[in-house]
Symmetry: C2
Subunit: 487 residues, 2 copies
């Protein structure tokens, strides 16, 4: 089975076509008839639901509550924060009419709105308006809210999961009494994302701060996790923003402080979107399709009954016996659809199911199972009791293998350079990966990076502390930065 | 405590103002700055989350999987189903531009779209397009999908939860091989809604079929649960539609049947929205505010520490001792905010928390709790061990009392009439409630109901089978129907 590949194209041949093949082969999503929009199919959505549950439980554990705010935002609200609107104005869907009319046998927009509405690209302003009503006294702070919703950014070049006009995300928004509390919150949520991306999803990511010129529009500081994909490019996987008092001033989040005086709150926002599914795909998948960490795998075990004529009942009974013996937390599926077992097996390989069982007469008679391990594609026979007794351990091993494989790969793609020449040579010779180098943090000579189609991904939280020369200015500095091509 | 009321206005004085007061008093929602839109605040959203979890678990148990489809729908897709578009064209938000530009110091829409997009009012057509791709053979059926999302219907007169421009809902969509299977599915989901509304939410509702002239736009049959509110009006609480082959033909859901021939699928759709929160409010709340069945109450028990100076630590320790003794499924909250305990108590009465505990020095010293039961507003002292041991039983009694109170009230508001004169007299004399009467099912003389501002809510699934005369035509029939004013 390891001789041929389940996908039509390999990573090496065409990474971009391969990515698309993984999505199609695993039945994760498809293009919709609406430009730039996608349909997240049941198997893809089940992964998102697992992600949601894990994050939502964590947010609640930390004291956040969910709420829901309008998707439509009055345009004049955007005018309140100049940097913010400058960052989003070029990609907003605008609602201008509120009905359709038949005219010359065609449906056309009618009922023009006096004031057009934007579909939310993000919700700092509209949520801030509510916070301004809620925060009357320091006793009402902190306000810790989150919403799971759809947002729209009109993208010209779209790509499934990575960049679509509409996408799903969570956006957390908090308001605090002091600057220190707001900064702590932004950092705390940054750490939650790092935990989620690296520990739960087993991806490789570097946590750090965005360069000043690349912060979220209107933010004071943006913290990011930059994950490395198998083509060596960076994916900004989740961000957390310390917004200072910018938005509080724009929408009037003012409260009575402990001294009795009115003062502005300090706010944060933080989000992770369905884009992370694209990152997950490009981190773990191989030339046979998707691979999933057990935490978000819709199924840990899929059972394919090998039904030929009259043996159906015995085999199905045995399949149910298997599932009855599995530990409670093991998610399974018995596929009884009327399709050929051989095709099904390849389907589940492409879907990245960690363990695929084929159950035929042999297994029923001998009380055994035939297991294909997705990561090695090796088949192994074992007794049913052995399988049921070791599946939890097998899942842990599956996760460890997945993580080690990805982390070994990514670590091998990190290089250190000490001059612009080295940096430039690295990328110009077609190498990919994360380049660690010194940078002073000014905007000087940034255009030299544009020439390489490379950007500063982050200033890692873990700094070496060593002295060196900035690769863009030659000035001495201790600051390490990560340079890479990116999605 | 039972002498005054926690709300400024009673049901009797002004039902509509009272409804608004319940929402404000319980901190469920607020108007947004966007016309017709609302903010669902954390306490209101927590109720919705409980509802979602219960329904979602049930859907999955029945084999449905969640997915996500684009919010934007090309207008020409609506042209495929004439009845459907006629039903929704007058209330759709239309996106016509994809960016904002500064012009004369003001932000204005720019980047006009070649083809305007509608924001989904419902998703039969766009989901049908996907189903047309997915259903290749009878082996691929049934397709059972659901999505939790926001939808937009441009309402001219809006009211919190009941009728807002944007609202949240779930919409289930299924495709089947045969007509019988589709009908069974529509009925099955209708029964799920009846269970949810009557058994889980403890509301009073009559399940039945909508009159032909009041079906969902494009449906063959619409099944509904009509709940009775405390002002005697009906609220259409959830609907399930058997769509026949109408939508399958409109979007081409064609599959290879068992005989090898291509045939059209039979589809259904079914939904329940945040409107049900409005129904829940108008079913159970009283002049002191909200009341909640335990299944969806964010907290079953709220503890208010009566902190005065130096006793704080002892009291907080004792509060934590209480919560440690509560059974695992009991949801609790200790309110340590720096506000006066007396105000807090009234807040939680208005929020409909089933049991409110005030814990001061007395309770700590005597190892007791002081419990206010929300439904009776009676305070009762009991030992901590007694409380912890009986809280589950107390919650069951709370639910039973809630249900009986509402069901007694609603049953008293059902009357039977046998002629139009009786029907007309009933409503013209200012009575409210559900009127059961015979109806032949034709559209003859329906304008006589318009004069009374009354409509036929449903043809109940439970039919008496007795003969009588149609109150609109005088013709003999056995069919019972429910007539009422409605939301």
């Amino acid at each position: 089975m390891a001789m041929k590949h389940a996908l039509k194209v390999t990573r090496k041949e065409d990474f971009s076509a391969w990515y698309q093949e993984v999505i199609t082969g695993a039945d994760l999503a498809e293009n919709a008839s609406v430009r730039g929009c996608m349909v997240i199919k049941p198997y893809g959505y089940a992964i998102w639901e697992r992600m949601q549950r894990i994050l939502d439980d964590k947010f609640k554990e930390l004291g956040h509550t969910n709420a829901y705010f309008p998707m439509f935002i009055p345009i004049d609200l955007f005018e309140r924060e100049a940097e913010h609107v400058a960052g989003f104005a070029k990609e907003m869907a605008i609602v201008t009419h509120h009905r359709l009319e038949q005219r010359d046998g065609k449906l056309v927009p009618a009922g023009e709105l006096e004031a057009p509405l934007a579909v939310r690209p993000t919700s700092e302003l509209i949520i801030g308006e509510s916070m301004a009503r809620w925060a009357k006294s320091y006793r009402d702070l902190p306000i810790l809210v989150n919403q799971w919703c759809n947002v729209v950014r009109w993208e010209m070049r779209t790509r499934m999961f990575l960049r679509t006009t509409e996408f799903l995300w969570q956006e957390g928004h908090t308001a605090h009494e002091t600057e220190a509390e707001a900064r702590d919150e932004a950092v705390r949520m940054h750490e939650v994302y790092k935990w989620f991306i690296c520990d739960v999803l087993k991806m490789f990511g570097i946590a750090g701060k965005k360069p000043d010129y690349d912060r979220f529009a209107g933010a004071q500081d943006t913290y990011t996790v930059e994950a490395m994909m198998q083509d060596g490019k960076a994916l900004q996987a989740a961000t957390s923003h310390h917004l200072g008092q910018n938005f509080a001033k724009a929408v009037g989040i003012e409260f009575q402080g402990r001294g009795g005086k009115l003062q502005y709150a300090h706010t944060t926002s933080w989000g992770i979107s369905t884009r992370i599914i694209g990152g997950l795909i490009m981190s773990h998948s191989d030339d046979d399709g998707l691979n999933l960490p057990s935490a978000v795998a819709p199924y840990h075990v899929v059972i394919i009954p090998l039904i030929r004529g009259e043996n159906a009942q015995d085999i199905l009974d045995y399949c149910r016996k298997i599932t009855a013996m599995l530990p409670k937390d093991v998610r399974y599926h018995i596929d009884t659809k009327e399709y050929a077992p051989q095709n099904k097996q390849w389907d589940y390989v492409r879907k990245g199911v960690p363990f695929i069982l084929e159950i035929g007469n042999n297994e029923v008679t001998s009380g055994s199972v035939c297991v294909t391990k997705r990561l090695s594609l090796e088949k192994q026979g074992m007794s049913l009791s052995e399988f049921a007794g070791s599946i939890e351990k097998m899942l842990i091993e599956h996760d460890e293998t997945l993580q080690k494989r990805n982390s070994d790969f990514c670590n091998s793609k990190i290089v250190r350079v000490s001059s612009y020449e080295e940096l430039s040579d690295f990328f110009r010779s077609g190498n990919t990966g994360f380049v660690q180098a010194k940078w002073t943090g000014t905007s000087e000579n940034l255009e030299r990076l544009d020439e390489l189609a490379v950007s500063i991904r982050c200033i890692p939280s873990a700094q070496s502390g060593t002295k060196g020369r900035c690769v863009l200015t030659g000035a001495e500095t201790t600051t390490d930065a990560i340079f890479a091509k990116s999605y």
